[in-house]
């Protein structure tokens, strides 16, 4: 940081000195400006993350020296404009614009500021099912003093060793979030039972002396635990952008363009991970941010009679300079410290990609990428204010991919190719009317990419049986943006009178996605606006737009499971076991025999969900009243109404934003401004809640 400050100071001096020879050479040059130096202090009480979120001076409790500079110099053929402000090493900005003899233009800017990032405390994620000890005490009558408790017998295995305790219970009213045994069951006689294994790895299959034939149901031990490993760590990011561009006129009709942009993001951010198939153990730690985006632009503009041609090449590199954070995930099926965790006790190993066995593995990975683009534009200025413009854009983005624990990829890069062809015609058939017709054809294509997600235990018949390789091998990645897009539009501007202008427009867009399951989106847009003046003191503008979107991007199987047998929005095991929904409880499943999330639930969801609207109405109204040179008042209203009415679900959202502002200058020495704005937004939608045990 200290070296950065010296570098920046040296650069600042160079930038300040650079225009001087140019100005000295121009005898007509006149300049105005100011230089200010001083001291600044900031004192922050409590949390700085919101009260000083975007800091352009001092990010935290501190004091220091600041400097400001402003320069505006112009001669007959040369101009220089400079604005700069410098605080500490993480807060500075300047903009420089030099025009020399109208043949060379140099623009340079630098911005650096600090952003405080949020710190999720993860202290609201604690929930769990207690061990069976509390339930055992309740069933034995120890909680309610003087009660005898329910009849019980030791459960033994074939060797006569005790593996747990079985209670005969009249009902399950005692079962609540504080009293949960390992199993509940129903005997052939109709008697209800509860069973607590003596150790976590004993189950009902080990019971050799049941009082009768019992059908058991295992109670899931679902739990959720949030843990912040770095509770006192501040998270922040310093964002820096340095831009330079040169335009050099090499011949009277050809100008070359060079540009360079360097963006850096450095700091420390929170990184959150979750272990699965144990408790849902969510942990937060810190990770370094050290990212760099570098753009290089080369181009040329040539004017050849009626024809103007413009070309630009862009090369962009995104680099992640820091290593990915590491996490040792919890052993699966180990919410209880007494669980005998071994690689042989691999209940979930045919469903998990990694757990404790994998050791420290990277997560929260930021891949590097490259982009190259070519933009070619041609403009033909014909007679009668007729302009024909054509454009071609070719871009290629490569994103790096690599094998990781639990995932193998078939190639090290995903390449996305974009080609766009545009044509625009601007005509003025009569003096009062200007028309703009445009069309664009675009194509996005991502290279074929597949990946495999082999679970830890591909050959083990643990929970749910031996996994089918077809479910985790060579999975094809589909890109929702791949496809062909056609856009056609027409805009018109018509002067109704000296003070009134009418604008109208229509646009049709069709996006044919390569991945047909996501649909083909058609969008039609109509716009209308009127701008006018009433007398000399009142101006007004009214605008309305309507968009109709057919098949917006959506997930066709987003929510709402429907049982294929019963038609109910939940899985009813009564129907599965007795064949009828009779309201009589039938004991459910044990680990290894229950339904699977993927094939038995997720694949059977029927609701098509999207956060994108199918229709949008937007109204904008504004009017300004200026009765005198010292007073102006503006009222404005914006209303937006969005709606989606998909097959299985629908939502709507309304937004209103009225505002009023005044400007008043009672004397030449006093200026007053006032603004009030209200934003009200109401969204109405369905809510789907998953509900299951385990």
């Amino acid at each position: 940081m200290h070296n950065d400050w010296k570098w920046l100071l040296a650069l600042s001096v160079v930038i300040l000195m650079a225009p001087l020879p140019l100005l000295a050479a121009d005898a007509t040059a006149q300049s105005t400006g100011s230089i200010e130096v001083g001291g600044a202090i900031i004192d922050i009480k409590d949390d700085p993350t919101r009260v000083n979120k975007y800091s352009t001076s001092l990010p935290d409790d501190d004091s220091g020296v600041y400097g400001k500079i402003n320069l505006d110099a112009a001669g007959e053929s040369t101009s220089v404009r400079l604005d700069g402000e410098f605080h500490d090493q993480d807060s500075s900005t300047y903009q420089l614009d030099i025009n020399a003899a109208n043949r060379l233009r140099f623009r340079s800017s630098h911005d650096k500021f600090n952003v405080w990032l949020n710190h999720d405390r993860l202290d609201y994620l604690n929930a769990g099912i207690p061990s069976g000890g509390k339930a055992a005490a309740t069933l034995d009558g120890l909680i309610a003093a003087g009660t005898a408790g329910y009849a019980a017998q030791p459960a033994q295995n074939g060797d006569g060793a005790t593996v747990g305790k079985i209670w005969s219970v009249p009902d399950f009213n005692w079962l609540d979030p504080n009293n949960v045994t390992g199993y509940i069951g129903q005997g052939a006689s109709g008697q209800l039972y509860a069973f607590n294994p003596a150790l976590p790895y004993y189950n009902t299959a080990t019971i050799a002396n049941p009082p009768e034939a019992i059908k058991w149901q295992q109670v899931g031990r679902a739990s959720l635990y949030g843990e912040d490993f770095v509770p006192n760590r501040d998270f922040f990011m310093t964002r820096e952008e340095f831009k330079n561009s040169f335009d050099i006129q090499v011949t009277p009709n050809v100008t070359l363009h060079f540009g360079h942009r360097l963006e850096k993001r450095e700091g420390i951010d929170q990184s959150i991970a979750m272990s699965k198939c144990t408790s849902c153990h969510i942990t937060g730690q810190s990770k370094r941010i050290d990212e760099e985006t570098e753009d290089l632009r080369l181009g040329a503009t040539g004017k050849f009679g009626l024809l103007t041609v413009d070309y630009e090449y862009l090369n962009r590199e995104f680099r992640n300079r820091t290593s990915d954070p590491l996490r040792v995930f919890d052993p699966a099926l180990a919410p209880n410290p007494r669980t005998q965790y071994t690689t042989g006790n691999a209940t979930f190993d045919n469903r998990l990609l990694y757990d404790y066995e994998a050791g420290a593995i990277p997560y929260d990975v930021t891949p590097e990428s490259d982009k190259q683009s070519h933009v070619l534009k041609a403009r033909l200025d014909l007679s009668n204010n007729t302009v024909l413009t054509g454009s071609y854009v070719n871009a290629e983005v490569e994103s790096n991919k690599a094998d990781s624990v639990g995932m193998t990829v078939n190639k090290s890069q995903i390449t996305t190719q974009y080609d766009g062809y545009g044509l625009r015609l601007t005509v003025r058939p009569v003096q009062r009317l200007a028309l703009n017709l445009r069309g664009k054809v675009e194509e996005v294509d991502t290279s074929d990419f597949s990946y495999s997600l082999p679970p830890m235990g591909t050959g083990s018949a643990s929970l749910g049986g031996v996994p089918d390789p077809a479910y985790y091998t060579d999975l094809e990645r589909h890109a929702s943006n791949d496809g062909d897009k056609l856009t056609l539009g027409i805009d018109g501007l018509y002067r109704l009178g000296r003070k009134t202008t009418l604008r109208a427009g229509y646009e049709y867009e069709k996006f044919d996605r390569d991945y047909e399951e996501l649909g083909e989106t058609e969008t039609q847009t109509v716009k209308l606006s009127l701008k006018t003046r009433f007398g000399k003191t009142v101006s007004a503008r009214a605008a309305y737009s309507y968009q109709e979107i057919d098949e917006p991007l959506h997930n066709p199987h987003g929510a709402m499971y429907v049982d294929p047998v019963t038609g109910l929005p939940y899985y009813d095991k009564d129907q599965q076991t007795s064949g009828v929904i009779d309201g009589v409880w039938q004991p459910g499943f044990l680990i290894g025999s229950g339904p699977s999330y993927g094939t038995d639930f997720y694949d059977l969801r029927t609701a098509d969900l999207s956060n994108l609207p199918e229709s949008i109405h937007e109204v904008k109204l504004s009017s300004t009243w200026s009765p005198s040179a010292s007073f102006a008042a503006t009222v404005a209203l914006r209303g937006r109404f969005e709606e989606n009415d998909l097959t299985s679900s629908d939502w709507q959202q309304e937004s209103y934003s009225p505002s009023v502002s005044f400007w008043y200058a009672p004397t030449d020495k006093l200026n007053l401004t006032f603004l009030y704005n209200y934003l009200g937004q109401r969204a109405e939608s369905k809510f789907c809640q998953g509900w299951y045990d385990g």
Partner: protein
């Protein structure tokens, strides 16, 4: 169906006053009140669900309290006062003070983000 309602009020006042030929003042005041809440969630146990594990341990009705977790309410106040005194047409002194208050009235995920910031600066300038 559930509703998510957002209400944001923003008020801003600014003044520039050239008290004398040498002395100019500027002042600003901004206040905003932003509130969001989720309402109308009424989950109910479906008919015929009689599994004691689901009905006794995982109460669907109790899930309705999650709406309270989504309540947000922020109040923010920013006030500033600055002045410039011109010793000569070229030489001036500039000073400013500022205060920012952030009141997190429904802290949750990120903890209590209440904060106050006091700023001050004093500088000497030269116009040319």
């Amino acid at each position: 169906m559930t509703d998510y309602q957002t209400d944001v009020h923003t008020l801003s006042l600014n003044a520039d006053y050239q008290a004398t030929e040498q002395f100019g003042l500027n002042a600003g005041l901004m206040f905003s009140d932003a509130k969001a809440e989720w309402s109308g969630l009424s989950l109910q146990t479906p008919a015929n669900v009689n599994d004691p594990v689901l009905t006794n341990i995982y109460s669907l009705e109790a899930t309705n309290v999650i709406t309270s977790y989504s309540e947000l309410h922020y109040r923010q106040l920013e006030a500033s006062l600055g002045g410039t005194y011109q010793f000569t047409p070229a030489l001036y002194v500039a000073a400013s003070v500022g205060y920012v208050m952030f009141d997190d009235r429904s802290p949750y995920v990120y903890g209590d983000q209440d904060g106050d910031a006091y700023r001050g600066s004093l500088g000497l300038g030269y116009r040319f």
